[in-house]
Each structure stands twice: as C-alpha cells, then as structure tokens.
C-alpha cells in the first residue's frame, strides 16, 4: 500500500463524504465539490480519488439497492472509517496549530 498521508484533493473528498453522510456516492460527491468550491472536476477524477482513499483505508463502502434513474444499477455509498477520521483530525489539528503560531504582525502589513 502507498503512503497514508492525505492529499489536498483527497482531503476534500473525505470531508465531503462526511458532509453528505449517509448519501455519499460518486456523483453526489462531485456535485457537492462543484457547489462548495466551484472546482470543475470530472466524474472519473472523483472515482479515482474515492478508490485511492478506500485503498488507504480511510473510506469504506457498500452497495445500495438499485434505483430507477440509474438504469437499474446500484450505487456505492461511502462512509469514513476510524482511520479516515484520525487522518482528518490530524490534518485539522496540524493546520490549527500552525495557524496559531503565525505572529499577529504578519497580518498587519
């Protein structure tokens, strides 16, 4: 398995999976990314990210039952694992602590 650090785009996906719980699957995640960040991403890019996160153990998934508008195909619903939660918390804390260490003088200029 590759390293378990979290890329910027991966972190975004991971967070959004959390936001959308329990209805996080490929297309809804993509839509949310576009709505929240304005970034244009291809469906394939989202799937690729999801796939990587699952490989790293940050996400788990199960197949939901089939719906009509998908031509009878099931969707894969994603949720964050404990490892995923840890990774997110670590990132969050790291960022907060770095943020706090910036001296106030920096913002004055």
């Amino acid at each position: 398995m590759k390293g378990t650090n979290l890329g910027e785009f991966e972190e975004l996906i991971l967070l959004i999976v959390g936001v959308l719980f329990p209805n996080a699957y490929g297309l809804s995640i993509r839509q949310e990314i576009i709505d929240q960040t304005g970034r244009k991403v291809a469906i394939g890019a989202v799937h690729s990210g999801l796939n990587r996160l699952e490989d790293k153990g940050f996400l788990e998934s199960k197949l939901a039952e089939a719906t009509h508008e998908r031509g009878g195909r099931r969707k894969r619903l994603f949720s964050i694992t404990a490892a995923g939660q840890r990774a997110l918390t670590k990132n969050h804390e790291l960022r907060n602590s770095l943020w706090d260490q910036i001296p106030d003088l920096v913002w004055k200029t």
Binding site: L27, H47, E69, R70
Partner: protein, 871 residues
C-alpha cells in the same frame, strides 16, 4: 414515462467503450453514476452537448485505477510484437524501397496539406466579422449606350445613407473612401512624420457593420467626431513605440494641419480581410448625402437579423432609380455577400487584388492529383514487392498462419510505412509553411487548431491507402496453397497482378501527362501575354510618386534631365496600368472613357506611338482648356470619328448646362495600348493636358546602372522636396502585378508537375527494376540464343513505352479541353498547337525511356553466364 426514458439513453458507443476498458468490479457503480449524470445533463443541455459531455466523462475514466489489467491474451500480444518486428526487418532489408515509399508518399501528403491549408485561408476571407453572412457590399454596373455592362465596385456617396433611411431591413450602412493612390503625411511632430497609404476615410457607423478585433478604446464611439482616428497596433508602435495610445494625437501635415485624436487601437487587420488599413478617419467632405454623381465610394450594409437579402435585392434597382433624374438607361445596382468578395468578385476598382475561385478549383484539383499519384504509386510498389515475399508467406502458412494473421502481418507493415510517411509529410509541409510564409503572405501552421480537421482527413485517406496496400497482397497471397508457395511455383507476374500494376502505372502517367500539358500551356499563355505588344514601353520607367506638392515642377524636370541617364520626363495624374480616371464621353451615345492628365513630354516618356494628329504643345494655350484630347484607336472608334475629324471642334458629350457647348477636339491618336490585364480587350482611353502641378513624374532611364542614377536623382530631389522623402517605383514591376495571378498559377503548376512526374518516375523505376529482375534469366537465354543488346532493351522498354502512349492518349485530349476553357477568359490568348501535344508526349516518353531503358541496358550488356549461373 417509460417512453421518455427510452429516448434518453447515453451514446451507445461511449457506453460500449466504457464496458470494454473498465474493470468489471467498478463498472456497475461507474456506469450508474454516468447514467444518472447523463439524465441531468440532458435536462440542461441539447442532446449533442449532453452526448459530448458524456463522452468527456467516459474518457476521463481512462485512468490506471479503472482500466482492466493483466487479462490480455498473451499469445496475441506476442503475435503483434512479431508483426512489428517483421515489418521493421522488412523495411530495413529493402532500404532503398522503403526510402522511395516514404519519399513519394510523404511528398504527396506534404503537397496536399500545404495546398489545402493555403486554400482554406483563401476561403476564409472576411469571415471573422460578426454576422459576416449579413454583411453585403453594394456595387454598380455601368451601362453604356449599347447596353454593355461595365462592372464597378464604386458607388455614389449618397447611396449608403439612403439605404439606411429607406430600408428597415438595413440595420447599418457604411461608406469607405480609400486613399485613391494618394499619400498622407502623418506625424506626431514636424520632425517625426511618415507617408502613409493605408488610410481609409469612413463613417461613424464603421464598427456597426464591421467588427475588427479591438485592443484599446471603445469602438462604439470611436469615430463619432470628425477629429477622431482609429489606428492599428503596428501603426501605434511605429509612431508612439507602444500599443495603448488612446488619447494621443496625430497630425496630418497638409495645408490645414488637422490634428486627430486617437480613439481606439485595433489589432492589425487580418490578412483575410479584403481591404486593409492602418488608419481610419471620418470622411472630411460635406454635402455628400445628395451626391449621386460621384462614383468613388464603397458602400457596405449590414442587414437586420432575420432580414432576407432575396427580398431586398429586387427593391434595390427601383430605389436607386428613384433618386436619379429621369434618364433612358440606368446603371444597374446589386449586392454582393461580403464573404464572396475575395474569390468571386472581380470588378473594376476592387480595394485589393482579389483571389480567384477558378484558381481555388484548379489548385485543389492539382493537390488531389498529386496525392492520387503518390498513393497509387505506393499501392503499386507495395503490391508488387509483397509478391516477392510469397515464399515467406508459404513458410508462415506451414507453421499455421491463417488468413487473419497474414493480413495482420501485412497491415502492420503498411501501417508503419504510411504513418511514417504521414509524419514526414506533415513535417515537410510545416517546413514549407515556415519558408514560404512570406511568399503567400500569411503565417500558417498545421498545428493551428482549425487545421485539425484537414489533418484527420488526410490521415484517413493515407491510412486507407495503407490498408488497401496491405490487404490486397495478403488476401491474394493467402489464397495460394502453402506447398506451392514454398516450392516457388507461384508466378508473381501473373495476369491479374500485372494487369493491375499496368493500369495503376497508366493512371499515374495520365495524370502526369495532364499536368505537363497544362503547365506548358499556362506558361505559353503567360509568355504570350508578356510579349504582346503593350503599345508602350514600361521598361526602365521610374515613377516618382509624391510630386504633387512641388510647385515648380518644370524646373524639377529640367534639373532631372541634366542627369545623363534620364532621357525624358513626363508628368501625369495617373499611371498607365495602375491608376486612371473615368468619365462619360461620346455624343449622342455616351460610353465610359478612361483618362489621365499629362504634359506634352509624357507621350514620349511612355513610348506611346502617336499615329495621327499632333502632341500637346506648350505653345498652344488652347490645349490646356476644355475637352482637347489625344485618344487611343479604340476611343476613336467608340467616338465614331474618322481621321478627317482630327483637329476639328465637334460635339463630344452631352452639355451639362446652357453655358456648356458639349464640344471638344481630338487633336491626336495614339496606337492602342494595354492598361488593364489581358483578360479584357483594350478599352477607350484619352489624355488631357493641364498646366497645373501633377502627382506623378515618370522618368525614362537609359541605363542599367540604376543605383548610381538613383542617387543622382535623389540629390536633385532633395533640393526641391522640402525634406519629404523620395517615393518611387518602376513601372514594369507594377505592370507585372497585372498578371500576378497567372504567374502564381504557372509557378505552382510547374512545381506540382515536377513533383507528380518525379513520383511517377519513382514508381516506374521500381516497377521496371522488378520486371527486369524477374526476367533476368529469360534475357540471358535470349542473349545466348543470339539476341542483340538493342533487341533486349527494346523487349523490355516496349511494354512500358506503350503504357505511356496510352496514358497520353487518355490525358492529352482532356488537358486540351481543360486548357481551352481556361483560355476563354483571356481576350488575348495563345493557340494550343500540335507542338504542345508533341512536347508532352515526347517528354513523358523520354522520362519513361530513361528510367526503363537505362536499367534494361545494364542487364542487356551483362554477361548472360553470370545470371544463368545464379542459384
């Protein structure tokens, strides 16, 4: 609901493609997402757009994580690898052949790409304007008393405003008033000024009709005031050294010293505009709205959206006539689509020398011909060569190769060659674009996105040729029994094969013959036109342009004549073959008379031949007043005068008012001379004499040492000119522009002919080479039995020469008819004689004989024992 869903299905092939490459365990969710996405996309977009989006997202799944892996058929992969290996080895083994294939195919491709990209440029003229399809130019055909129509691009200044006023369909109209040969001395300060020709005066509505790309400033208000000026980027850099010069001023150094404020900077006018300029200013003249008499403005109109030109067109003529006084014959007014002007309009006084739709057809035909020749050539060579591999095929069959694998093997080989040729051709054409960019006047590149389509087109054609070239021998060869092939019992020059080979050769040579014939005919016509007696001599005539401002022109002339090499000097307000004026003359039947004002020395300077009457004279003040003219022979005929009428005062035109007598005198007649291209017959022309200063001073030089004479002239000039620079040109050069189109055609034709002939030559060379190798033993036996060298050479060459003769018989008549049609456009044309046919057939025969004869000669003088001993 169900029906609706049935209708909304994503593009089938995208779906199939996805299931082909996507990993099975991912497929369901991916397809589901995409399907759902498609439903949303369809609601928001058109079907086309949604399909495209779907494809886009499908292609985005071409990522490592999603693609199937490790399941390919290993066997097939190894097979493909071996195909490539064999193709590569085969190409290396026959290096000379491979090189010839590449070269002939690559040259054909390069030539095709080059010509078509060039033609695409020609066809895209004026399309960059917004709503270019709604913009029209209004032109007028002058009609004379014999109801002949003289097409002319110029219109009266009152036309444009009247169009907007009278027709709700016309959204905007604009007049253009070009420099008409004049030059404008523009500058930022008295010591920084230049002569400018590319100045167009126009209306405030200019940008309502045209949409040239803007860099700075607001074009909506750019020409609202008479003191505003719009300039291009290069003009801005030339005068100010920077691009954003809105708000700066330029002074026109004429008597009034008008100061213009720059209101907008445009991107340089695209090459694909049928008129070009660097400066736009308002028309400075008053009371133009009632002026229906001057014909020196260009009128353009833009229709309102939804308006139809077909309903407007029939209303134009009654509208035009309603503004004119009652008259027996009216000129005919009509509209031309803006985008047709460059290629389809060839009126008098076009703003720029236009292209010619005929040349577009001819060039594209030629490009296709060359491509056909090179493709056929490749096809022919490849088919012929692959039959030499029948033994290899036999062995493969013994080891279990079936038709499919054989076809695969041959296809890979031809594909590699065609791909390489495609690459070579593209690189060659790119080099051509780079080196010829200046000649054709535009920067183009195959890499421009708009040329992508063309590139795919040519790739498809060439790859198709590759497929045929690979498929034919593969299928043919695989139908033989393996054992026979291994034993070598297969005759590669079998009837069907050699039949195909020959017909391909005939087609190639027929096309070459056609092109040779045409290029000689065009060349012959060009020479004919160049050597036609022009009726005056343009050699060594130097024209100084900006003499209009010099008051003491006679002293300038005297001083210039003191230079030994200047043999005569004449003044005029126009240039023969360049710029002249027109008026209506003749009584009672008026016709269009071309005229310029000259002084008495002009006739001699130009080498015009006075055949009757007398020249103008400084001693007779009457010569400078009224209609006292020297005419050409055609004009004399049109005036219906005989030589007894010369020197008499006669009614020559319709009097304009009661003070006007309408009388005039023809004092002399000059021999007819050409002042237009050779497509039209000589038109009536006359000369006036006025004592006022004129714009042009022509000098006849009697030396080949031009540089030295020039510096002497420049010395004299600087004493008179008040620091304006000397601007001049040589008349024979400007005259050559009259047949620039034909020259261009002749050059391109010659180049392509040589190319086609060269490719055909390669083809024949290779085929002959193969034939001779096949028949080496036969030749040896014939020699042993007593055949002479010439017998053997004849035996081989005879067949090939016959092919060439057949090719000639097919192509020459077609070429003859084609060129006859082309020549019909010219009033002065050469005749296509027997000599032309002979030259064509002899030159092709010679080429054929040289290629085949030389090779067969080499075999024929060889020692027969050697070739018999082989194997």
């Amino acid at each position: 609901m169900k029906e609706q869903n049935k209708d909304i299905t994503p593009p089938k092939y995208a779906d199939r493609f996805l299931s082909w490459f996507c990993r099975d365990e991912l497929l369901e969710e991916v397809q589901g997402d995409l399907y759902e996405y498609y439903l949303i996309a369809r609601e928001e977009n058109s079907r086309r757009k949604a399909d495209l989006l779907y494809w886009y997202h499908v292609l985005h799944f071409l990522r490592p994580f999603a693609i199937k892996r490790g399941r390919q058929n290993l066997n097939a992969a190894i097979m493909y690898k071996s195909y490539f290996k064999f193709a590569w080895r085969n190409a290396l083994k026959h290096k000379a052949n491979t090189f010839m294939h590449l070269l002939s195919l690559g040259l054909g491709v390069a030539c095709f790409i080059f010509i078509f990209v060039y033609l695409k440029g020609e066809l895209s003229y004026d399309k960059f304007h917004q709503d270019a399809d709604r913009i029209y130019r209004v032109a007028i055909d002058f009609v004379d008393s014999e109801r002949r129509r003289l097409p002319d691009a110029t219109t009266p200044p009152a036309l444009a405003p009247a169009l907007t006023k009278d027709f709700p369909e016309v959204a905007a109209s604009v007049r253009l008033f070009p420099n008409w040969g004049g030059k404008f001395l523009l500058g930022t300060s008295p010591d920084r000024k230049f002569y400018e020709e590319r100045v167009i005066r126009t209306d405030s509505t200019f940008f309502d009709v045209f949409s040239f790309p803007v860099l700075y400033g607001d074009t909506k208000t750019a020409l609202d005031n008479p003191d505003q000026m719009v300039i291009t980027r290069s003009a801005a850099i030339k005068y100010f050294g920077k691009e954003d010069v809105v708000g700066e001023t330029l002074t026109l150094f004429d008597e009034e010293k008008t100061i213009y404020k720059i209101s907008a900077v445009l991107e340089d006018v695209p090459v694909t505009s049928h008129f070009k300029f660097d400066f736009l200013a308002r028309i400075p003249f008053q009371n133009l709205e009632q002026n229906w008499g001057w014909y020196n403005y260009y009128t353009y109109m833009k229709l309102a959206s939804g308006a139809d030109i077909a309903t407007l067109e029939p209303k134009l003529q009654p509208f035009f006539e309603s503004y004119l006084e009652e008259r027996e014959i009216y000129n005919i007014i009509y509209s031309q689509p803006l985008t047709d002007i460059h290629l389809k309009s060839n009126l008098k006084w076009e703003l720029e020398a236009n292209g010619d739709m005929n040349n577009v057809y001819i060039f594209s035909m030629l490009a296709i011909f060359v491509l056909i020749v090179s493709c056929l050539n490749y096809l022919n060579l490849n088919v012929a060569e692959s039959f030499k591999r029948f033994r290899e095929v036999g062995v493969r069959k013994v080891f279990g190769a079936n038709k499919r694998t054989l076809v695969g093997q041959f296809l890979v080989g031809t594909f590699l060659i065609t791909l390489a040729a495609l690459l070579l051709g593209s690189v060659l054409s790119e080099i051509l674009f780079k080196t010829l960019g200046d000649v054709i006047g535009r920067k183009i590149s195959l890499l421009d996105p708009e040329n992508l389509q063309l590139f795919f087109g040519i790739s498809l054609v060439v790859l198709l040729v590759g497929i045929i070239a690979g498929l034919y021998p593969a299928i043919h060869l695989s139908s033989f029994k393996a054992a026979m092939a291994v034993k070598g019992l297969f005759n590669p020059s079998g009837k069907s094969v050699s039949g195909l080979r020959r017909s391909l050769l005939v087609i190639q040579f027929a096309i070459s013959t056609f092109m040779i014939f045409c290029s000689i005919a065009v060349y012959q016509q060009l020479q004919f036109v160049k050597n036609v007696d022009k009726g005056f001599s343009s050699e060594q005539v130097m024209v100084i342009e900006n003499v209009g401002d010099i008051r003491n022109q006679q002293t300038l002339k005297t001083e210039l004549l003191k230079i030994n090499e200047v043999s005569s000097a004449g003044l005029s307000n126009g240039i023969i073959g360049g710029l002249n004026w027109t008026t209506s003359l003749g009584y009672p039947d008026a016709f269009t008379m071309n005229w310029v004002v000259i002084d008495p020395e002009f006739i001699e300077t130009m080498g015009l031949e006075l055949i009757e009457g007398r020249n103008f004279s400084r001693e007779r003040p009457g010569d400078t007043i009224g209609v006292t003219i020297i005419v050409n022979e055609t004009a004399l005929k049109e005036l219906k005068l005989t030589h007894e009428d010369i020197g008499k005062s006669l009614p020559l035109y319709e009097p304009e008012d009661s003070l006007d007598t309408g009388r005039g005198t023809v004092i002399g007649v000059v021999k007819d001379f050409h002042f237009t291209d050779f497509k039209s017959t000589i038109k009536p022309f006359c000369f006036f004499y006025r004592a006022e200063p004129q714009d042009y001073l022509s000098l006849k030089l009697s030396t080949a040492n031009v540089p030295e004479t020039l510096s002497a002239i420049e010395n004299v000039w600087s004493d008179f000119s008040n620091q304006t620079p000397l601007e001049y040109f040589f008349l024979d050069k400007s005259f050559a522009e009259l047949y620039a189109k034909e020259s261009q055609l002749s050059n391109v034709l010659l180049f392509l002919t040589i190319l086609a002939l060269f490719i055909a030559f390669i083809g024949m060379f290779a085929i002959a080479n193969m034939t001779i190798k096949d028949r080496t033993k036969e030749i040896a036996i014939r020699k042993v039995l007593g055949a002479s060298v010439s017998n053997v050479v004849m035996l081989i060459t005879r067949n090939f020469l016959w092919l060439v003769v057949i090719a000639n018989l097919i192509a020459a008549p077609i070429a003859y008819l084609t060129m006859q049609r082309w020549l019909e456009d010219f009033a002065y044309r050469t005749s296509l004689g027997v000599a032309l046919f002979l030259v064509t057939i002899i030159s092709t025969l010679l080429v054929a004989w040289a290629t085949v004869g030389f090779q067969s000669f080499r075999v024929a003088i060889g020692n027969p024992v050697k070739s018999l001993k082989q194997e």
